[in-house]
């Protein structure tokens, strides 16, 4: 049961927003929507990312947020990266249901392969500004923004709740800042719509042994990163705490600030 990285050459790089780039790699590599890879930048770092594109032209999409993602952004076509995985439990694919995919910010990256697996689903995506909106040219989506520069001026859970007045959904998938996921969980419980969400924590091993990514008694890398509503409501640290790299438990706000260092 080896899980060493497989090495890929970068083929093409696209600027998605001022702070987000997509790196297309040569070769084939697959995963279930919601699963992830530990992506190795040789000599620098290794971080968990999902594939934003799958199939013949796989890609990872990375936001510049701290030292190592800055190093990722300096990569050029021809450079090599390693992918270890796929790891974790992905989304349950409900092909014949009316589903909503609700993203907050770069949460849309984790939901992109799901959106491709479920054509015809309703996609709702919120971003700070129009410039920061991801994949709105790739998918037909309902956008909203913090400043009103694209779509209504609100967060994606609010836009989702507004849309519930006219549309019925059988299932909801979500990813974004944890506070937004918490808002989505609360809405889904209120309207009795089953849902799944993809969570994030600082990750080291990716293979379920180091428990750096622990949330309550669940390992994000192994039990998740996708969790259904039934499990989310039982996870004590969900929406509250996360471990820093040292293993020190911190409030989510402190965790998010630390990630940007």
């Amino acid at each position: 049961m080896t899980s060493l990285p497989e090495i890929f050459t970068i083929k093409k790089i696209i600027d998605e927003t001022p702070s987000v780039k997509t790196f297309f790699i040569k070769g084939k590599i697959g995963m279930q929507p919601g699963q992830f890879f530990m992506v190795w930048l040789p000599g620098v770092d290794e971080k968990p990312f999902t594939l934003s594109y799958t199939g013949k032209n796989p890609a990872v999409t990375i936001r510049r947020n701290g030292k190592s993602t800055e190093a990722f952004h300096k990569l050029k076509p021809g450079d090599k990266i390693g992918l270890r995985g796929p790891f974790g439990k992905g989304f349950t694919i409900h092909k014949h249901k009316k589903v909503a995919i609700v993203a907050g910010g770069i949460g849309m990256i984790a939901l992109a392969s799901l959106a491709e697996a479920l054509p015809g689903s309703t996609i709702i995506c919120g971003a700070k500004t129009k410039d920061e909106m991801i994949f709105h040219k790739r998918f037909r989506m309902h956008c909203c923004s913090d400043d009103g520069s694209i779509g209504p001026k609100c967060f994606s859970p609010q836009l989702f709740e507004t849309m519930l007045k006219e549309k019925k959904f059988d299932f909801v998938y979500t990813c974004g800042p944890e506070i937004m996921i918490k808002a989505m969980l609360d809405l889904c419980l209120k309207y009795k719509i089953p849902m799944e969400a993809s969570l994030e924590r600082y990750m080291k091993c990716g293979i379920g042994v180091c428990a750096s990514c622990v949330c309550g008694n669940k390992l994000i890398c192994k039990d998740g990163p996708v969790f259904p509503d039934k499990e989310l409501i039982k996870m004590d640290d969900f929406g509250k705490n996360a471990l820093l790299m040292s293993g020190k438990k911190a409030a989510l706000k402190e965790f998010c600030e630390w990630k940007q260092e």
Binding site: G43, E46, R84, K204, I207, C210, A211, S246
Partner: protein, 300 residues
């Protein structure tokens, strides 16, 4: 049938979650207990908050794991709430692993955490990924002095965890016993080793080298425990590459009173404890053996 004892500590099963695996919070350790662990070890506690090494830190190769996590720790002063949670939800024995770079540091940490009353204090004197504690584990005089001083700071049982990366592990174990150690844990990871990616021509681990664990080191662990059992009277927690019931029985026969489970979590998830317990029980039944204690050291 599966009841075991590590010194005076009663265990409902002989399996102990080994240090460095999973033990980052109370709830995940509780899940190990619920899945059949007889005791759990909290990830090594150090003097001040420390991030450890950058990724990649843990990798699985053909026959084991290699890691250079680098002793991350919240620092012993930042864990009060977690200790309270541990003592609130975990009823089975807790082992607190401790590391430091001086006798004084070990003593300071152990004095402080003794108030939370863990069942055993494990002295990590054998981590290959940070030079600090390692010096103690390879030197009989240094480790003896450390144990003597630590014993003055606490009434709790002291269990040094030894490295296989020395040429006299039974001598070190003997010195530990003489200095007052209550039990011995053996072994920590072997090596250190290295894996080089040939496409990028770079070592995979960010720290370049890392400790080897898992099936690859089991014969080393068995030999070490066998040798230690021959030279000391205090009980041994046998650790190193144990992944199934037969492995655990082999470790008990080498002389371990209880068996550490670490890397096996990678192969069979947290349910691994129940799985190994079932396999041990089945073997004992098939061989008409009533109790774990009847096979401890049987290979000698």
């Amino acid at each position: 049938m599966l009841k075991a004892k590590l010194g005076r500590i009663q265990l409902k099963t002989p399996l102990v979650l080994a240090s460095g695996i999973l033990g980052t919070n109370a709830q995940i350790m509780k899940r190990c207990i619920d899945n059949g662990a007889g005791a759990v070890t909290l990830k090594s506690i150090g003097p001040i908050e420390r991030n450890g090494h950058n990724n990649p830190t843990v990798l699985a190769f053909d026959s084991g794991l290699i890691n250079a996590v680098g002793l991350p720790t919240p620092g012993y002063l930042n864990m009060d709430e977690e200790w309270e949670e541990i003592n609130r939800i975990i009823k089975e024995p807790i082992i607190a692993s401790v590391y430091g770079s001086s006798v004084e540091e070990y003593c300071r940490i152990i004095k402080y955490i003794s108030k939370f009353n863990p069942s055993i204090i494990e002295l990590n004197v054998s981590c290959p990924n940070k030079k600090a504690g390692m010096a103690f584990g390879k030197n009989a005089e240094l480790v003896s002095e450390l144990i003597r001083e630590v014993k003055k700071c606490t009434k709790l049982p002291i269990m040094p965890k030894l490295t296989p990366n020395c040429d006299n592990i039974s001598e070190i174990a003997k010195a530990c016993e003489k200095a007052g150690a209550d039990m011995i844990a053996a072994i920590n990871t072997a090596g250190p080793g290295m894996i080089i990616d040939i496409e990028t021509r770079k070592p995979l681990l960010k720290y370049k080298t890392g400790g080897i664990s898992g099936p690859a080191i089991k014969p080393i662990a068995i030999r070490c425990v066998y040798e230690i059992y021959e030279s000391v009277k205090i009980p041994i927690l046998g650790i190193g590459g144990i992944s199934n019931g037969r492995d655990a029985i082999e470790m008990l026969m080498a002389g371990a009173s209880a068996v550490g489970i670490g890397s096996a979590v990678y192969y069979d998830n947290i349910e691994v404890f129940n799985k190994i317990n079932r396999e041990i029980e089945e073997w004992l039944k098939n061989n008409k053996i009533k109790s774990i204690k009847d096979i401890i050291g049987a290979a000698r």
